[in-house]
Amino acid sequence: MMETLGFFATSWLDPGLLFLTAVGTLAGIYVGAIPGLSVTMATSILISFTFKWDVNEALALIAGVYVGGVYGGARTAILLNIPGAPSAIATALDGYPLAKKGLAGEAIGLSTVMSVIGGLIGVLALALAAPLIADFAIKFTSRDYMLLGIIGILLVGTLSGESFAKGAFAGALGVMIGMIGLDPMTAEARFTYGSINLMGGIPFVVAMIGFFGVAEALVQLEHVARTPIKQAVTRIVPSWPDVRRYLVLGLKSSGLGTLIGALPGTGGDIAALLAYDQAKRSTKNPEVPFGEGAKEGLIAPETANNAAVGGAFVPMLTLGIPGDAVTAIIIGALFIHGLKPGPLLLTDTPHLFWFIVGNLTLANLFLLVFGLTGIRIFTKVVECPRAILIPLIVVLSAVGAYAIQNNPIHITWALAFGVVGYLLKRYGFQVGPVILGVILGPLIDANYRRAMIGAREDVGQFFTDLISHPISLVLSCTLIFMLVTQLPFYKRRRR
């Protein structure tokens, strides 16, 4: 118990880690708030600089950026009616009307306190649920990991995109990119075309920077001339009666957010929208109608999206399957540091698990401090024109892609992935499944081959194994259910 507490408090007691968490949270608030910058973009660039650091230092900074970033989007949603992040789309629906009524400060204060409550509940759920899930996941075999990997990619593709086919294409494209290089089992060259640069494979960080950073910069060019609206901000710290009044709603939304966040493929954005919808249905007589400045409409999505952070860590740490795009990047960071997220992570490296729990708690406390202060400087910074931000994103992407292996060719690759990502985004594809495919592709490949070797290369035996073991059966049924629900006849029946 004392040992666990010691692991939990690592970043609380180490001044360096404390500082990095604080800096990460503060930076995350700005990254999440500035339209054009995103948490996924920032974390993918950050990994390329922090991979040489000690794992705790890297995680402290990245976790801070993640927690701060999910919250930060709310500020611009309230002040400018521009959600800084997708998870703040629902926040703008009632946050901006509140600001127009001169209640911007109150809305920011309330969203900060509720975000922190949601965030802490999400972390508590992580601490309680992860060890139980990990104990169970130890029983997983190669074929189960293969199925989990496929389910993870398909879930992201299904839930985040505009059609299942587009999600599946994006996921498969990612798997394909992940296959480039020498086969780790047979050293056969795959899509290398004789290039030495391709033999080692494409570092997923380079793909991430291209698809998230450069592509987003190109998409943002469309909005380069948009000028932000200015709002007056007065009292920020919310009144205790207000907090107490909305606490029950906050707790309900936190529970929902944690659950949604824990599902691979979902994340803060879906959690926030569902919580908003749930609040709208369950609030009988709001003081102000939803959409016109209802505080319930502000609180529900804000608590849910921050609670989803803790939830997203659950499948990532226990099964090695990321809950959303940012945890997909964090899983990459763990791989870079030689760690293998999965059920054994909790038994082999309990210090790391409890460090993450402690660090996320700390980041939420910093969020409370930074969320309730520095609003005046903040309003100046978020007014930074996109015309300056976009070129800076490109330069940061270039240095990030280069830094991972000090190889200039990676800059070209990141820029090329950026162009591909731009085209995909313009035609309604999500780039999240691509990145998940790049990361999970090699895992699926290795586990498929192990499972097939286990079945002595007998296709019949392979499929029999998939349905004759309880865990494999449940996962196979989940996969089949996911595929069936995407078929036209099923969709017609649902309508």
């Binding site: 600089f49 599946a168 976009i390 495919g437």
Partner: protein, 163 residues
């Protein structure tokens, strides 16, 4: 807001391009180890390429079901390749090409200056000041704090822009 029910300019062409790309990738995946076994290095690439091919065909079929929106090549260019994007992408290409010769800091400084000047349109002096400040911040953060060895550039090492 665009929905999946509306055909975007050039969407059919893009879907067709995806089918062709997926077909090519499948052929390349098959070339790795063919159908020699079920655990060879080419199996997963073939499976992934198969999914790409199947899903791209579904995407193409979906675009064929949507009514034509009558948009021509001009609408496609306006949607996909507006002048700003084309010029910016061109600038980014030049930037990437210049890094090995000019070095990261000089190439980034020049890129930032031209890009900010072109996009912001507040005059060259402000653009120069901002790009200088940005480069200084990037140098301090990445070279000094993160200790990233930034490309120096062949021009400063050998006197040649292209090595």
């Amino acid at each position: 807001m665009e929905t999946s029910n509306q055909l975007r300019p050039g969407e059919r062409l893009f879907a067709l391009l995806l089918v062709l790309v997926a077909g090519f990738v499948f052929a390349e995946a098959h070339a790795i180890s063919g159908f020699r076994g079920l655990t060879t290095g080419g199996v997963m690439p073939m499976l992934a390429a198969g999914v790409m091919l199947l899903s791209s065909l579904l995407i193409l079929a979906d675009t064929l079901r949507k009514p034509r929106n009558g948009s021509g090549i001009q609408a496609l260019i306006a949607y996909l390749l507006p002048l700003r994007v084309v010029l910016f992408a061109g600038l980014v290409t030049v930037y990437a090409a210049l890094i090995p010769g000019l070095g990261f800091l000089a190439a980034s400084g020049a890129f930032l200056f031209v890009a900010i000047w072109g996009l912001w349109r507040r005059g060259p002096v402000l653009a120069a000041a901002l790009s200088t400040l940005s480069i200084l911040a990037i140098y301090l953060l990445f070279r000094v704090v993160f200790q990233v060895v930034l490309p120096l550039g062949s021009l400063w090492q050998t006197g040649k822009l292209w090595s």
